[in-house]
């Protein structure tokens, strides 16, 4: 990380990727502050990935290993759908290319991925113990008055493998699954004896 627009556009639904280097953690309160209240950050998100998270951290003395005075205890990923409205401004104002989260995003985000060149990578929700082992350190933190929903900068190694679940070409695994599931609804209800 960071990646270019071309690299983001080369990702296709069902590809698997792993991240190396930098990953930013962000969540509801962070995004509300940044975009509904127009707060700015000194951190540079251009070309980077953000993950929807509010990590469990422990306060420690600041050191080269823990420069922010925070050590990661348990870092997992939250439901992305609540933050659907922020994908477009994240990409447009801050230059973000990849959104990592749980459960998918909707049409507005799909359009932002298409127009600006981005993708959604699916984390397996509820696997924080495993995910925490992919995080080497918390390198920086901003908007920390919103703790734990601060803007975090993680250093990551082998973060993944993650499934590309939405791409810049209109592909969405969530739409596919939802469409097929809803098509099965009538049959399922009839099997249950529903008139």
């Amino acid at each position: 990380m960071p990646i270019t627009e071309a690299q983001a556009r080369s990702l296709r639904v069902n590809d698997t990727v792993s991240l190396e280097g930098t990953l930013f953690g962000i969540r509801d309160a962070t995004l509300i502050a940044m975009f509904a209240r127009d707060r700015r950050t000194r951190l540079d998100l251009k070309g980077h990935a953000v993950i929807h998270t509010a990590p469990n951290v422990r306060k420690v003395p600041a050191s080269p290993r823990h420069p922010t005075g925070y050590a990661p205890v348990c870092v997992g990923t939250t439901t992305s759908a609540r933050m659907e409205r922020f994908t477009q401004p994240l990409m447009e104002r801050e230059g973000v290319r990849l959104v990592i989260g749980k459960g998918g995003l909707a049409a507005g985000s799909a359009e932002a991925f298409r127009k600006l060149g981005g993708a959604y990578l699916a984390i397996i929700g509820g696997t924080a113990a495993l995910e925490t082992t992919w995080i080497e350190a918390i390198e920086d933190v901003d908007l920390d008055d919103l703790n734990p929903e601060s803007l975090w900068r993680f250093r990551v190694r082998g973060f993944g493998p993650l499934l590309v679940a939405m791409d810049s070409h209109g592909g969405s695994l969530y739409d596919e699954v939802d469409r097929k599931a809803r098509a099965r609804r009538a049959n399922t209800l009839s099997q249950l004896g529903v008139k």
């Binding site: 997992g76 939250t78 459960g103 998918g104 924080a128 113990a129 925490t132 609804r185």
Partner: protein, 291 residues
């Protein structure tokens, strides 16, 4: 049997941490069952990652999921138990706060309007502490359920009318599972409340969702619904994490209560795959931890 409230405070603290780190054996068996019958390749891989996570959590003594949830305590007081109720309730709340401050744990609890986080996992009305009574002599049990919000945000209540009959229940459950999609971190335990008042109906759904796998509804009609709905929900193909597959749900659990002549309430509450639960039993022999 006299119960020491200081010990209750320590137990309440211990239960929160245990629940977050150790998955109950019935849930692990649920995963083994689903992994054995899953036919979709992506779904198999997703289930595999979930199972790997359980191992890593045990090996690193870490939390299974980062969502420490809303802490819920369910207390069952048996016969001949000598305890001052108000003190018991205060001790549990203190234990919950100490777990959060001392471990430390992420406090996921905020004031609903100011959104201020006191970093204690406590606030007005939280932790919810429920009391029930049993006929078991010399026994007090505290069950702790950290309820994650990914699943909790997918809760519904419908006040159907009697003319719609049981079909209303079946249709509602199927539609809730479709609407939840991947947002609840399937595979889920789908808890269904049938009957009661509106709030009892929702409470029944929560009890159903947090009941151990392998238990059934004490009401025979409810038990029959559990079987048919479990099969039905797993034909929809939502799959683990909503990425497709057979393993949408470990089970559908139902809880039943009587209701009014003109009412037909049905509620759905979901428990995610990180179906965390811990309990402690106070007996004359001491405190025994379990699930």
């Amino acid at each position: 049997m006299k119960v020491d409230t200081k010990q209750v405070e320590d137990v309440a603290r211990e239960l929160y941490v245990r629940a977050l780190k150790m998955l109950p054996p019935d849930i692990k068996e649920g995963f083994a069952r689903l992994a054995a019958t899953e036919t979709d390749a992506t779904a198999k891989s997703v289930l595999g990652t979930m199972v790997a996570n359980i191992r890593v959590a045990e090996d690193t003594e870490n939390l299974l999921c980062q969502d420490t949830g809303i802490p819920i305590y369910n207390v069952t007081i048996g016969r001949g138990v000598d305890v001052e109720g108000a003190d018991l309730r205060a001790a549990i709340r203190r234990g919950c706060e100490r777990a959060t401050r001392e471990h430390p744990l992420r406090s996921s609890v905020v004031h609903p309007i100011t959104r201020k986080n006191e970093h204690t996992s406590c606030g007005p009305g939280v932790p919810p502490i429920h009391f029930d009574f049993s006929d078991e002599p010399d026994r007090l049990v505290i069950e702790m359920v950290p309820k994650g919000s990914g699943s909790e945000n997918n809760s519904w209540l419908r006040m159907a009318i009697p003319a719609e009959g049981v079909d209303a229940i079946k249709t509602f459950v199927v539609d809730c599972v479709l609407d939840a999609g991947g947002k609840t971190c399937p595979p889920t335990i789908v808890g269904v409340g049938v009957g009661g008042t509106s709030d009892l109906c929702v409470a029944l759904a929560k009890r159903a969702a947090t009941r151990p796998l392998g238990t059934s509804c004490p009401d025979p009609e409810g038990a029959a619904l559990e079987e048919s709905l479990t099969r039905a929900v797993n034909t929809l193909g939502v799959g683990p994490q909503g990425l497709g597959g057979d393993s949408t749900s470990f089970a559908v659990h139902v809880e039943v209560a009587a209701t009014h002549i003109t009412m037909n309430p049905v509620a759905v509450n979901m428990q995610c795959h990180s179906a965390r639960r811990a309990s402690a039993a106070f007996t004359p022999k001491g405190v025994e931890y379990g699930f």
